[in-house]
């Protein structure tokens, strides 16, 4: 299960944007891929607190995932450098330093993170996202060099700052250990586990009680935290034992959760999550396997809903099996249609008269072909220019232009015709898309080669020449 989940980790990041658009954000993808694949040692830029950097690294990833955030690099570098000793081998996926430059430790960001972390109560009441680490950046310059054991204190302070920014969510319970309140008097690692969960503002008062109630489920996570020492959230390879499982599952849960809640994600374009905290719902098994399985199921159901929107006429269908059949049928029908239409095009194309092409092209071509029409073409190039025309308004001058070669004596002007086209092509080169230019140049060269062979065949058959001159 763990191995299976690990490969999904990069896609958790992809899922962050799944709601917004199908087209992937290439920048985000590259950032996310770098998050996942970058080796840990690259992150070490400055010597700093090791455990802190561990947390900060996750923040870094969060920051990069947001993409739009900007932050002073030195702060993150401070924390990132520290993560070496005990954490590097366990954090192979930490983000390179250059990505962290985008991180922004504003209180406004924490507020946005808090809002983003608000759950869609109907679907994922138990899910929590981890945003508190972002606030750690605020605290980093204050704390300076810290020992490994002081990480929790640092996190508590960060949490406190975050809680203050969020204005009295249940995180106050997390900050209590720092402030001395005994609401949640968990030991250090448990604090970390609790803090992780609390990071994002849940906005529900009962969350505090839930924290204490679900300590049982947390203990598993906390135990793993303890067993792995300072090893924490962050993307960990499957090789890790339970600790990685918990964080991995939390990652997926977060991904599912982030997909689940719509209002939260809209406010923050790319939520900064590099790991997901999944909380077992009431009455559900707290097994890490079942958690991961639940996350995976929700991801799949999300994708199925997306596909349902794409496939026409699938609104009434309910159920994964029937839906899958519909999808397969639709893809098969589309492929068959491509085959059939290509057959039709093969029979229709030879008779194609490119004079009518301006009327054929859609408006989508207009952008690509507008500059071609706006320039003044020599008459001889009409045959070449026609395939790149776009609108019907300009079809008339092209028709006029294209008719002129027909009046030319084929024998006398054959070679000048082609030469003129070559010149025109070179003139038009500046206007063409590189692909178009390559196509036309190849066309011209091919026609030039054919001149001695076909000149005799052109006795009065301008149409034939026209066909050759065309695309």
């Amino acid at each position: 299960m763990n191995c299976g989940e690990s490969s999904e980790m990069p896609h958790c990041f992809l899922n962050l944007n799944w709601d917004q658009s199908i087209d992937p954000n290439s920048q985000l993808d590259s950032a996310l891929n770098s998050i996942v694949s970058s080796p840990a040692p690259n992150l070490i830029s400055q010597p700093e607190i090791s455990p802190q950097s561990h947390y900060i690294s996750t923040n870094g990833t969060i920051g990069t995932s947001t993409g739009s955030l900007t932050s002073p690099p030195p702060e993150l570098n401070l924390s990132m450098g520290g993560g070496r000793a005990g954490l590097m081998p366990m954090l192979p996926n930490l983000v390179p330093m250059n990505h962290i430059d985008q991180f922004q430790p504003d209180s406004s960001f924490t507020q946005r993170a808090a809002r983003l972390s608000c759950f869609d109560g109907q679907n994922y009441p138990g899910f929590i996202t981890q945003f508190d680490l972002t606030s750690i950046k605020d605290k980093r310059p204050e704390t300076g060099l810290l020992g490994g054991g002081q990480v929790t204190q640092l996190l508590d302070k960060a949490q406190l700052g975050f809680n203050n920014a969020v204005n009295g969510h249940d995180e106050s319970s997390v900050s209590d250990p720092v402030s001395g309140s005994g609401q949640i008097g968990l030991p250090g690692p448990s604090d970390i586990g609790v803090r992780k969960r609390k990071a994002s503002a849940k906005g529900k008062g009962k969350e505090t009680q839930k924290v204490s109630e679900d300590k049982g489920s947390d203990t598993k996570r906390c135990k793993s935290v303890e067993s792995n020492g300072t090893q924490e959230e962050g993307i960990k390879p499957k090789s890790e034992p339970n600790g990685s499982v918990s964080t991995g599952t939390t990652e997926k849960g977060n991904g599912a959760k982030s997909k689940g809640k719509d209002t939260g994600t809209k406010q923050l374009p790319e939520p900064p999550k590099d790991y997901i905290h999944v909380r077992a719902r009431r009455g559900e098994a707290t097994d890490s396997h079942s958690l991961a399985e639940r996350v995976r199921r929700e991801k799949i159901s999300q994708r199925m809903k997306l596909l349902q929107d794409l496939v026409p006429g699938c609104n009434k269908v309910v159920g994964k099996a029937v839906m899958l059949d519909e999808i397969i049928n639709y893809v098969q029908s589309l492929q068959r249609q491509v085959e059939f239409l290509s057959m039709k095009l093969a029979t229709v194309n030879p008779q194609l008269d490119f004079n009518n092409l301006p009327s054929l092209l859609t408006k989508d071509m207009q952008q690509a072909c507008a500059p071609l029409l706006n320039s003044s073409f020599p008459l001889d190039t009409s045959g070449l220019a026609l395939p790149f025309t776009n609108s019907q308004q300009q079809a008339n001058p092209l028709h006029f232009v294209s008719s002129s070669p027909s009046s030319v004596d084929p024998h006398n002007t054959m070679h000048p015709f082609f030469n003129a086209i070559t010149d025109a092509a070179s003139q038009l080169g500046a206007f063409w898309h590189d692909d178009l230019q390559n196509v036309v140049q190849m066309d011209i060269r091919q026609n030039q080669e054919e001149i001695p062979v076909s000149s005799q065949a052109f006795n009065g058959t301008i149409q034939q020449a026209h066909m050759k001159m065309e695309l």
């Binding site: 087209d23 057959m343 095009l345 009518n356 952008q367 395939p387 692909d435 230019q437 390559n438």
Partner: protein
């Protein structure tokens, strides 16, 4: 087809200041260019079946090239097209099987039964996990649909 991938000659850009390359326009452009190339080779005796195959290949190529390397299916499609092109040009009959970490179908019990069919349909689907497969299917479906619409409009225009 390789000429489209030759970015060394990319010295001429579209001078239109409002030029924003959206997916449909790029796809249409590539497909029509490919059609033009096929038509240019028309004087050579080509049977309709051969032209059909050429046009179908051009359709998939335009789809894959416009999608680029953003998706697994487009990458797999590009690799498959280039392999076939090389085979055709060099007359080689040996195909090196790419080594992929693929879990066989038997070891994926949690998937529905029809997932195997879907994997065969979507290019590159054999080595993807199920939820990635669904994601790729969605994008592949969109591209296929736009390609079909483009070809349909072309056929209608040419035949009228």
């Amino acid at each position: 087809m390789d000429q489209f991938m030759d970015r060394k000659n990319y010295t001429h850009r579209n001078p239109n200041p409002n030029y924003t390359p959206n997916y449909n326009s790029m796809q249409s452009l590539r497909f029509i260019q490919a059609l033009a190339r096929i038509n240019r080779a028309a004087p050579k005796p080509t049977t309709p079946s051969r032209r059909t195959k050429q046009i179908r290949r051009a359709a998939y190529a335009s789809m894959a090239y416009t999608s680029g390397s953003r998706h697994n299916w487009s990458r797999a499609l590009l690799i498959r097209l280039r392999q076939r092109q090389r085979l055709r040009s060099l007359r080689l009959l040996t195909v090196r099987r790419r080594v992929r970490i693929v879990t066989p179908a038997m070891s994926r019990p949690e998937e529905p039964a029809r997932a195997e069919t879907l994997r065969r349909l979507v290019p590159g689907g054999k080595s993807m996990e199920y939820c990635n497969l669904l994601e790729e299917t969605a994008d592949y479906m969109q591209c296929l649909r736009s390609q079909v619409q483009l070809m349909q409009s072309l056929v209608d225009a040419f035949s009228s």
